[in-house]
């Protein structure tokens, strides 16, 4: 017997979001089925703790629902928007846990990140970015990961890596320029 949510399987993210925002919990569940694992994985990568990661994931999906009017589909994919929120939320949690800084209310991005694309294109992007990171020299990759996944400032990275700050700056700049090219961005 077909389930009531089965017709929704083929609906777009925005259509599901509209239904979830109108009180459709089945649609919220489907959005979670699509992206919950990825959101959780990013949260876990940053926070390092399953309990925190689940809390962050729950927070992200509930924010998605409450502030769905901030999402502008003209600017990019829903998943990109969600992952931006996830990264900020998780970094904030990490810093408040490790450095004792007061947890701030994470401002929701009104302007969206840039990528579009369907699930197949995102799968390709996943392969591309994993490969691109693997091609970076170790020290450059550590700087990127330290800032993005570790929430470390450039000064903290310099201390941790035992390198002068200008060296960290150079690694950061070179790494981002290389990633930009490897991920298909045209040089100016």
């Amino acid at each position: 017997m077909p389930q009531p949510w089965e017709p929704m399987l083929h609906e777009t993210d925005h259509q599901l979001l509209q239904q979830a925002a109108a009180g459709g919990t089945a649609a919220l569940g489907l959005l979670y089925d699509r992206y919950g694992r990825l959101v959780f994985s990013v949260a876990l990568r940053i926070s390092g703790e399953r309990g925190s990661a689940e809390e962050i994931t729950q927070d992200v999906f509930l924010r998605l629902w409450r502030y769905a009017d901030r999402y502008n589909p003209a600017h990019g994919t829903l998943v990109a928007w969600m992952l931006t929120i996830t990264q900020r939320r998780a970094i904030d949690e990490l810093r408040s846990r490790h450095y004792g800084s007061k947890r701030r209310e994470v401002e929701l991005p009104e302007a969206l990140p840039l990528a579009g694309g369907d699930h197949a294109q995102q799968a390709q992007l996943r392969t591309d970015v994993q490969q691109a990171l693997a091609e970076l020299p170790t020290a450059q990759r550590e700087v990127i990961e330290g800032v993005f996944f570790g929430g470390l400032s450039r000064q903290e990275l310099a201390q941790r890596m035992g390198s002068p700050l200008p060296t960290i700056h150079t690694r950061l700049r070179l790494a981002m320029e290389k990633l930009r090219v490897l991920l298909g961005d045209e040089a100016p």
Partner: protein
Amino acid sequence: MEDTIIPPPCPDPHCDQIAVLLATAALGGALDGDEQTRVLGYVTTCSGCRRRLEGFARVAQALPLSVSEAEPSPALRERIMRAGAQSGPRRQPLRPARPPRRGVFTGALIAMALLLAIFIGQQQLRLQQQAVQLGQQQTTLVQQQQQTARNRALVIAAFGNADSREARLTAAQGDSVASGRVLISPGAAAVVVYAKELPPLAAGRVYQVWLQGEGVLRAVGTFQPDQNDRAWALLQTAAPLPKPEAIFISDEPAPGSTAPIGPELLRASFP
């Protein structure tokens, strides 16, 4: 040994320094107040920096996809569904899906909006904190928030206009080290100025921005530098601006002059 990549040519001698700050901003890293002013200044007045930021933002967007996948507990889904059901339906409708706007500055708009969402949000937070400390009323906080939102909308509108033009400001006096950049959108009646190392102002003086074009000279607005002698100013006039031939900055008595009477400090020409 670390490999190298030859960066694209950039006309500005501070390009590499700005690239580090742009990369940090795109990755969500911390920038202090002075660095934020510098980034805002370059991104709002340099198309090369905007393209770079856009490219870095694409990288940052892809990075989350690099993580190894992990499975949350089955109970998480149920908790989210229950919490959603308890929240009830929204009252505001979602905005409809529209195709992306195509225009000269579409990518730059998004890059700018991304940056502004970070910086102006942080500025707003600082203003709020200051207001709380000063015991200011809620109405003042609301006014500040509204001004912040207007600033954001104005800069985005300025970029969205096909008439937007940018230029480098150079010192009018030979021994001055002052420099800067300017973006003007006549249609949006907006001018964005980024300037640094201006000669210090005497008490009761301001820097004033002037526009020459189509046979007229218009006063655009005034600004003050921050404690690092940098200035990022967003100026809007009541009426559309003429097509610019030149923009210059002079040292004038506060609150500004109806015609320039003080020394000219910086000038940009628009051929």
